[in-house]
Symmetry: D3
């Protein structure tokens, strides 16, 4: 039998060889090549022979993130810019840490739905629909929520203890657009901010000063 | 020859008859049946034999819309809820009228890009990217802009005359989420509004009173 | 308070900084880089720091287009090849001018639905479904129609005055395939044209001569 | 050991039972329920417990189709209207028979690409791009072509023998729009046909008579 | 001023009222109506006025799942069949518990990518590409992996302690197809199993007995 | 009249010229440029002026493929790696030959549905759903089946004669993942194979030796 095995093996190698060229597995996954052109659909693909397990593995989400900031929250993200193997796979995640009083201010993700799962502490989370209905809930560990795609939403730690959550997106690159930063950290002229939000000019100026905006 | 034509015609009728059932053209278009179940992708389809040209035709976009309101703007929409033939076709449009000082406050469309074309007057339009860069331009008749999908944007008529624009969306049902209405026309508790926007409580209360919110 | 502001600002800058690299906003929009490779989904993206408002703004749609041609119609297009910011945004538009008797001959767009809005004059527009039903309407200013994706359609100015329309597509690059040009401006052999259309050979030759075809 | 097996089996049954309800496999496939509402994406799904292998199996493509018609061609289709299991699967196929001189006249499929494989005889096939370039080839048995989505194309059997081909689509419901039938089997007014195609009125009338159109 | 507020409010209510009907927000989210027809794209939508926050909130992922089974693993799923608000949102999640020696046998998800994040213990995880390359890693708390869409993958707890992971999918309904159950819990005839896997008939019979299959 | 034709023709050339640049037809099809970057959506596009009919035409599917191997089957594929014109078109095909006793072992295609049409001989084909139901049928010439996307399936020639089938996919690049090769031709450690499949270690070693695996 021993003598036959190499022959069988040789024959077997022909089993799935076909008239096709050898490129057929190239789109099975598309690990990001950060230095090549990218398109609306994502990065160009790294050459398959350079792909390793490390392109798919991340670490560090057991560690708290830095919450020493105004919002008292911090993120550890695993987005396609952090992990090349997410390219073209349509999902990503992050760990969020909240000190007591920490907040993720109201924001949207242009092209992604989100789930949030509370690991520690409790969080008041909410989203608002386009008819201005508020969907609000305080979540405890093991609780979670789905934020529908594109709607304004927020997280607030109203408790006295810190909190931790895992958030997931159905996009490898969920962009965050924070309302407060868009309006008050930017150089959008204060009179325009008032016109498009109805907020008093003096309050706009105060917030621009607070959040580093100009104009 | 005349005698042959009916025969040829009869034969021709068999040309494209096949072994298929007669249902093959059903998905060519899917005019909305507003009374049947609907799914994330749109309404169920009206039975093809009930479809007429009127399911595809709209009118009235030559007429100004009502601008007697706080924002001094008005819309005439042609969305899938207005025109059944838009169902499944992936686009829609509207006419917008602006009095002098009229504004379309800052808002997003969850799943749609937009183009705006100025027909009369001039409009200052802008959008903000997620790194808080402002893209701003004053447009004259014949000018226009594309608003990238999901980003906060606004229109302001800073001129002394009224203005008219045509807006188009790559969705038959572009939802509008206005930041000011989400925050100040809703029943979201004022202290939460402050927490997630950094706006002073007194200003939040003023805006809630102005815009009809509670909480 | 004044002395605190820079500190607060410094702290705030950390608010939304995360463990992510700085590439997360790259796919928020994808302005076309016309000189890089392009894929079925569109052009490669211009480097974000080179993007300006001018990549998103177009002009000139207030001006009539040239209608001194056989069809007595003219187009001013705002497609992705004209406006880089349309890349990946899924929509585009054009202005169409029609002299009295002007026509946009029967054609299809391979992957796009279309809306047409009449601004001036009146237009007879129609499309044909695959069971050879004709959907036909004469439109006046402010009227419009949706042409379902992929179906043959046409516009005819049967009035005595010129007409103007705005057309919109749910693709940044709607290709136009005109039946008459495909058959009679090409080099498709006349006998093949007859075989696949049933049009008399002499008429095929006349149309090839008229429209510049050969074969 | 024998006595242990039922116990192990009982335990194993719990292996993949979870806290989820029992509905999780419902979208694995969606066999068409022809009597329920349908949407732009396809038919509603038949209840899973009523699905059998016969929903996925077709037959008869070894048999010639009827070619006794003006075009001398015939189809046996396996579209979603013929085979419920194709619903939501994104593909379909057909067998085409051509007598000597048989033709599949110039046509488009609104939302589908196509491959054609010649089994018997030879076929001249072609498509035309939107810049009026003709892509033409005569195919022998074992040869084939891909017709890009949405473009006008045709098949002609110029040989003296009959031919057979298998065509495949990346849609479960490829609609066929034949140019000649749209123009000449419909009730589109002859003067409009002339306006939008440049074909002489007398030829339009001849073709309307031949192909059963009116107007 | 006080007397004016109701008037302003009344006027403001007209701000965003348009000529559109009131149905425009219907597709903003599509909470599953489990009793209505469903399509390849998901369930029909519950009527918006019946939607509450509870359609979007889940709980219990802090609790271990039952691991008293052959595989020594258990799942708590939050799929669309568990949480109606996930319908149409394109994502879902689950908690997985593993006793020492626990395993999630090799399996695929037909239409979903997956991320796995280890919360407790350590897990050896792997996937195999179509050229039979194994991508393997042992993960500790805070580590994770992305499993590319459609590829065979598995989790094994090779440690001496129990482990916990959170898994996320970019589908609201990720179906699980376990190789061992497909082959050995089904009624696929043993000789066919041998033919399509090369596994010895006696081993096939042993596994069928172990896993409850027949044939 | 003759003297007018050149003038009319000249004028006509302006008919469809517009204010657009000349790039508008670039995405009509996207023939693969194998040497440029590729993305999750496919290859970059070859420059249109280099595209010829030969980019769309394939041949040789009338010829049997090599079945001198362990599985007694052979493939002739027409995938995007074989035919550049399939890029972005969403479909592909292959011819399969089976000697008596030939088998296409159980496998999945990560992102593609499949149809199989028997041309010669008979084939027993089957797929298994995620609740371990087997859908099985023996097909004769002219019969066929649709394999739902992502599910495990197989073909076996149980007859005494050779068989031939045509298979089609709704992807230009259907990857094949064979269960037996993933487990036994790879270097996945035998004890892990046993853990994730329940197959006896001795049988795993036998299969690794047979199929060329290690570990």
């Amino acid at each position: 039998m021993k003598i036959l095995i190499p022959i069988i093996f040789f024959i077997f190698c022909l089993l799935f060889s076909s008239s096709s060229s050898s490129q057929t597995s190239m789109f099975e996954f598309c690990v990001a090549n950060y230095t090549a052109p990218y398109s609306p659909e994502g990065y160009s693909c790294k050459s398959p022979e350079k792909v390793t397990i490390d392109d798919f593995v991340f670490s560090g989400l057991n560690l708290p993130s830095n919450t020493n900031n105004l919002a008292k929250t911090g993120f550890r993200t695993v987005f396609v810019s952090d992990l090349a193997g997410l390219n073209g796979q349509g999902l990503s995640l992050a760990r969020v840490d909240y000190k007591a009083g920490g907040v993720v201010p109201i924001h949207t993700h242009a092209g992604a739905s989100e789930t949030l799962l509370v690991l520690e502490g409790n969080l008041t989370v909410g989203f608002i629909s386009s008819d201005n209905t508020v969907f609000l809930k305080t979540l405890n560990p093991g609780d979670g929520i789905v934020f529908p795609q594109g709607l304004l939403h927020f997280h607030v730690n109203q408790g006295n203890a810190s909190a931790v959550a895992i958030v997931n997106y159905n996009s490898p690159n969920p962009t965050f657009q924070y309302v407060a930063l868009s309006l008050f950290s930017s150089d959008l002229a204060s009179r325009l901010v008032t016109a498009i939000t109805f907020i008093n000019p003096s309050e706009v100026r105060r917030l621009k000063a607070l959040l580093g905006g100009s104009g």
